[in-house]
């Protein structure tokens, strides 16, 4: 029965739930949609604050929900950081979404996100995954400005559904092999030799790959991102990916990757890095480009799993935070346009520096960081990952991965070329990013600076 520990252990989730209920009430009562956003922002901030505070306290109840849900300071830290990242997403949404539904759905999805790193059982993890993605199907569709949104939503739904089914299939095989729903069984199965366990681990990995968009399970991502609106694409590219990775961290636990899964972790991420970076070269849609970039980044992230199990969580969390922060920075400062296609078109960034130097500068920083160039946080993150890969003895794959990341530099630079070095391109009905979005950008910038200056301090806390 719920003890006080159990209550506190789920404090961030409770905040979110309260927020969801409040928002639903607001919606039902038809009270100001303007307030909805603020309620959501306050809720998410409170949840993030609570998580960070608990992390800082070192709050670690032994077993709030035995066999289902657990927390550690590191998990709180991760939740707190990711929830904090949702704040810019919310702020960004202001210009695209008038209604409160966005906030409700986002908060629901965040609730799912929070469940993932705490799951002790595949039951909770499955609910978390579904809670994470089901609202997003609606979110993709929500700012329905073009028929392609429905197409994107449907594709996402079908493939995500297939991922869920695959995940369940894996879980059920694992269940069959061990008779337990505990996530620990996955880690045990990694080193087990029997065929069913092996198939189970592979299926679960495939499902995670599907959700995280690893080649060859990536195909939904570019289409879904392009079809979604800017804030939703930003959310998908950053927090969803982060959540899936946290789930993956959770299932792996602290064991070192071995067996067939280790092979998958070598080959498919490498393929993703190369594929994502190559395919991004010729894109003309900003979101599609970011989608391919996110495919490549998913590759780096799964590379991080090769390393020492104990340091995996901090590596992955730092990476996703660094990656998300700069990604959100770029999305936040993208100039606004009534025409969604125009907003998305890379060519419309031409000469942005002349129109909006600040936005151009910050998007530039974001691109360079995504490219993994020093001194930006993306570099430290990449370093972290490849350090793990090398430490695990996979030097060749590290080198190949780095070369793959090299391919990516070009398309990030291309954005800079367009913004800084192309003649000014007057885009009809273009507006600078709104004040709210700029605020989101400012938050991200602060985080970027923090990550640049004191990466060691941050890593130590994850």
């Amino acid at each position: 029965m719920p003890s006080q520990d159990a209550l506190i252990a789920m404090l961030p989730e409770h905040f979110l739930l309260v927020g969801i209920i409040a928002l639903i009430l607001l919606e039902v009562l038809g009270l100001g949609t303007r307030a909805a956003l603020w309620v959501a922002v306050v809720t998410v901030s409170a949840a993030a604050g609570a998580a960070l505070f608990l992390a800082q306290l070192g709050f670690a109840p032994p077993a709030p929900f035995p066999g289902l849900f657990s927390v550690t300071p590191a998990v709180f830290m991760a939740k707190g950081a990711l929830l904090a990242l949702a704040v810019p997403v919310l702020l960004m949404s202001r210009s695209e979404f008038a209604d409160g539904e966005f906030s409700i759905l986002l908060l629901s999805s965040l609730y799912g996100l929070c469940l993932l790193p705490s799951s002790e059982s595949f039951l909770v993890m499955f609910v978390g995954l579904e809670l994470l993605s089901v609202p997003v199907y609606a979110l993709v569709l929500l700012a329905f400005r073009k028929p392609q949104s429905a197409e994107a939503s449907f594709k996402y739904l079908v493939l995500s559904g297939a991922a869920s089914a695959t995940f369940l299939m894996g879980v059920s095989l694992l269940y069959g092999a061990s008779g337990s729903m505990s996530v620990e069984t996955f880690a045990r199965a990694l080193s087990s030799g029997d065929a069913m366990s092996r198939a189970a681990t592979v299926l679960i990995m495939v499902a995670l790959f599907l959700k995280a968009a690893i080649v060859p399970f990536h195909a939904w991502a570019p289409d879904a991102y392009e079809g979604a609106s800017v804030p939703v694409a930003a959310y998908m590219a950053t927090l969803i990916k982060a959540a899936v990775l946290l789930a993956a961290v959770r299932v792996f636990g602290v064991v070192n990757a071995s067996g067939p899964v280790a092979d998958l972790l070598l080959v498919l991420p490498l393929l993703s890095i190369v594929w994502g970076n190559l395919a991004a070269i010729r894109q003309n849609s900003f979101r599609r480009m970011i989608a391919y970039s996110s495919i490549a980044h998913a590759g780096y992230l799964f590379y991080a799993f090769l390393g020492d199990g104990a340091s995996r969580q901090s590596a992955v969390v730092f990476y996703v935070v660094a990656y998300s922060v700069v990604n959100l920075l770029a999305f936040a400062l993208l100039p606004e346009n009534a025409q969604d296609d125009a907003r998305d078109n890379l060519q419309n960034l031409k000469g942005l520096y002349r129109r909006d130097p600040l936005a151009a500068g910050l998007i530039g920083i974001s691109m360079l960081s995504l490219a993994g160039l020093p001194p930006f946080p993306g570099f430290v993150a990449k370093f972290l990952v490849f350090r793990n890969v090398v430490a695990a003895g996979h030097t060749t794959y590290a080198v190949l991965g780095l070369i793959g990341s090299y391919i990516g530099i070009y398309f990030y630079l291309r954005v800079l070329l367009l913004m800084f070095m192309s003649p000014d391109n007057a885009v009809p009905s273009e507006r600078r990013a709104s004040g709210m979005a700029r605020m989101a950008g400012a938050l991200c910038l602060v985080a970027t600076v923090l990550l640049t200056i004191v990466p060691g301090w941050v890593i130590a806390r994850f």
Binding site: S121, F122, L123, F126, V127, E130, V134, Y137, A138, L141, F144, P147, Q148, A150, E151, A152, S153, F154, K155, L157, V158, G161, A162, S164, A165, L168, M169, V171, S172, L173, Y175, G176, G179, S180, M181, P222, D223, E226, G227, Q283, R288
Partner: protein
């Protein structure tokens, strides 16, 4: 070949058939049904193991799958309707605006 293996085989076959359905069928609704088929396949194996181990965990998961499947269908149908409203076609192969 014992019963467990048979049921597991059936479960896998249903799962694979569902996936195959996603690949080869053009009709959006049929594709959704194929997704359901995949989930049903999973359920079968879960129930089988749950019964074998006499453990409620599997059954709980099956229960969750029911709910999730329902929710997904509830969400998917309006999306399909929205999709169809624009192109007047259930043929998913025609929806290739997003590509490249």
């Amino acid at each position: 070949m014992d019963r467990t293996q048979l049921l597991l085989g059936l479960s896998i076959a249903l799962f694979a058939l569902g996936l195959l359905g996603l690949i080869i069928r053009r009709n959006a609704l049929v594709m959704l049904m194929c997704m359901e088929l995949m989930l049903n396949g999973v359920n079968l194996s879960l129930v089988t193991f749950s019964e074998r181990y006499a453990d409620a965990g599997g059954a709980v998961l099956v229960f969750l799958v029911f709910i999730v499947a329902t929710a997904e269908i509830a969400l998917a149908i309006p999306i399909v309707l929205l999709l169809v409203r624009h192109t007047r076609s259930m043929d998913i192969a025609r929806y290739t605006d997003l590509k490249g």
